[in-house]
């Protein structure tokens, strides 16, 4: 069946899907179950840029035209999707369900209708949901009883991350150890920024920096062998750094890779992989606005105005967030910058908007 609103984000990092083989296998088994066996609806929950849409697209390939696809890319404003649900095949795939509601009074109507349809249907629903949105909404609606099977997407491992980057790179990559990295392989001091509220300034506290690879070489019998250290290819060091910086999120890894290795030739050193640092200092309304963007992933400025305090200057807030590099604005649509995702998450945890 044709997909009615098919706009897929996140599909630019690779034509292939990495790291989700086990999940795909389990979902295929669920799809192949005979109609006589009761089936549980499946919710795929993950943070932004983790490849949810890509995975759903792959799932649609397994359905052998028994499925109907609904890919939401904007806040759902009408009830047309209900007609599609009524006329759909026995498997329904719905992407970005966090766009079915808006966090304001009267903003849950579409979600109510959708959940009622799912709960009363005998079809198999496989949906994707933003993890932050799900964590909020599951205490407002009985989502866990409607979607009895919940899959949280795993973070990519080193090998999968390497394969993903290699698959997108069209030029021959050469890896080499840089001078900077060599020099840092010593025991020394590094400065750690400490932000203490009452002083209203940041102190740089010296803390010892320990290079564990050097320690390993000193104590080969107990910790590891010096040969192991020498055998670690530079390529793996580069990708390990990319994995650490992106926390295994493919979209974030892709963004950091793009920033760190902008050229299409030459050599790549571990020092090239730099995780962007953000100094986030927002008032509560700005932080809440950022949280809404994080939950919805893609939101219009006008839609935000209905959610945020009417006295707040949304345009100025948006401008501030864009200036600090936390969000991007394209055609009035706001979304989180992938490389800022984990800094934003940590900040919102610290102000108790994410838990």
């Amino acid at each position: 069946m044709a997909s009615p609103q098919c706009v897929i984000k996140e599909n630019d990092y690779s034509p292939e899907l990495f790291g989700f083989e086990e999940i795909l296998k389990n979902i295929e088994e669920a799809i192949e179950k005979p109609d006589s066996v009761p089936r549980s609806n499946i919710a795929i929950i993950a943070e932004p840029f983790s490849g949810r849409s890509k995975l759903l697209y792959k799932i649609s390939e397994l359905c052998r035209e028994r499925e109907s696809k609904i890919f939401f890319s904007r806040l759902v404003s009408d009830e047309n999707f209900l007609h599609i649900l009524e006329k759909s095949g026995d498997i329904v795939l719905v992407d970005n369900c966090q766009l079915l509601y808006s966090r304001k009074i009267g903003g849950f109507e579409k979600l109510d209708l959708f959940l009622n349809t799912v709960a009363s249907s005998k079809k198999l629903f496989i949906i994707t949901w933003n993890q932050f949105s799900w964590n909020y909404l599951r205490f407002v609606y009985p989502l866990e009883s409607i979607f009895a099977v919940r899959i949280e997407l795993p973070r990519l491992g080193l090998e999968d991350l390497k394969k993903m980057v290699m698959a997108t790179c069209e030029w021959q990559m050469t890896f080499t150890e840089d001078e900077k990295t060599k020099k840092e392989e010593r025991l020394g001091l590094t400065e750690f920024p400490v932000d203490i509220g009452p002083f209203k300034r940041t102190f740089r506290v010296p803390v010892p920096r320990i290079d564990y690879s050097v320690l390993k070489s000193r104590f080969p019998a107990k910790i590891g062998s010096s040969e192991q250290k020498d055998e670690t290819p530079v390529e793996d060091t580069v990708f390990q750094q990319l994995k650490d910086a992106s926390e295994g999120n493919p979209g974030v890894a892709k963004a950091i890779w793009k920033r760190s290795v902008p050229r299409a030739e030459g050599t790549i050193t571990p020092g090239d992989i730099i995780k962007p640092q953000y100094k986030i200092d927002l008032n509560y309304d700005q932080a809440f606005l950022l949280y809404i963007i994080l939950c919805m992933e893609c939101v219009n400025i006008e839609e935000l105005k209905g959610i945020i305090d009417p006295n707040a200057n949304v345009n100025r807030f948006v401008h501030d967030l864009e200036r600090t590099g936390l969000i991007s604005v394209e055609n009035e649509l706001l979304s989180i910058m992938p490389e800022a995702l984990h800094s934003i998450e940590s900040y919102l945890k610290s102000v108790r908007l994410v838990w």
Binding site: R103, I105, F139, P198, F199, S350, R352
Partner: protein, 282 residues
């Protein structure tokens, strides 16, 4: 050694030098307690604490403990180090102290003991919102003698620690940052109560200040009174500092929506026509 000798020895050791030394030690204890309070208060707002699963109240718990440690160490040093009081002399000194307490220092003693009990039993900690001695507010400091509260009107109230022996203490958040807030809205009995419940529920769960989790659920209740209906929302503010902004946010948005939906407040004067005593508080 005869008691007379001990007392005369103690009196003889009091001179300008020992008095000055004692004052210096007390001053040092005072400075140390203030510096530690300042540093721990600064540390409590350090965002990195969240990474270790700590919140500002967990850090501030140490403040009264350190204060008492500094003051008791100072008193011990003054008695043992400066006045060279031996254990038998200390017993005698305690007797004198007991006599002093009997005459006029019993309240001070009760406050100090109350302070120690507050540290050991922890009926409240710095940062908690409590109702004590008829005052409601956030605990800003637990000193050796008094507990200082800041009321919602920004008034600093000093409540003697000894009052915990006479009066109950109500702790609203008990060491947690989350705090339950109860929001009551009263509507005319002829209005659609179901719609009002629905609107208030959405106003509550969409508030930017709400905390929702297994441990922090929300509930909406309705009670029918003779001339009005009460819709009550109970939910947790994600930080007790947002208690009043949370209440304001939910009330403001709910009434905005009530107005659109034609839900009216009770008629003038009926709110004074309460039922039996305490009924409206259930």
């Amino acid at each position: 050694m005869a008691n007379g000798d001990i007392i005369s020895g103690l009196i003889q050791s009091i001179n300008a030098s020992t008095i000055l030394s004692s004052l210096a030690v007390l001053l040092l204890a005072y400075a140390a307690s203030h510096i530690s309070t300042y540093l721990l208060t600064g540390l409590s707002v350090w965002k990195v604490l969240n990474v270790f699963g700590l919140n500002r109240i967990a850090v501030k718990m140490l403040i009264p403990l350190l204060k008492f440690t500094f003051y008791f160490a100072a008193i011990y040093y003054i008695l043992a180090g400066i006045f060279n009081i031996a254990s038998d002399q200390l017993i005698l000194f305690s007797g004198l102290l007991g006599a002093g307490l009997g005459f006029g220092l019993k309240d001070l003693f009760a406050d100090v003991v109350g302070g120690l009990l507050i540290i050991v039993e922890r009926p409240y900690q710095i940062g908690d919102k409590i109702n004590m001695g008829g005052y409601y507010g956030e605990v800003k400091d637990i000193g050796p003698r008094v507990t200082r509260l800041v009321t919602p009107e920004d008034t600093l109230v000093s409540v003697p620690n000894g009052s915990i022996f006479q009066n109950p203490v109500a702790n609203v958040n008990a060491g947690n940052l989350e705090m339950m807030v109860v929001i009551d809205l009263f509507i005319d009995p002829s209005c659609d109560a179901n719609l009002a419940i629905y609107i208030l529920k959405e106003a509550l769960v969409t508030s930017k200040y709400i905390r929702l989790s297994e441990k922090h659920p929300y509930v909406i209740l309705m009670k029918d009174f003779p001339f009005y209906k009460r819709i009550r929302a109970k939910g947790y503010a994600n930080d007790f500092r947002y208690e009043f902004p949370f209440e304001t946010d939910v009330t403001r948005r709910a009434w905005q929506e009530f107005k659109r939906a034609g839900i009216r407040p009770p008629k003038m004067g009926v709110m004074e026509m309460r039922g039996p005593k305490g009924e409206s508080e259930t």
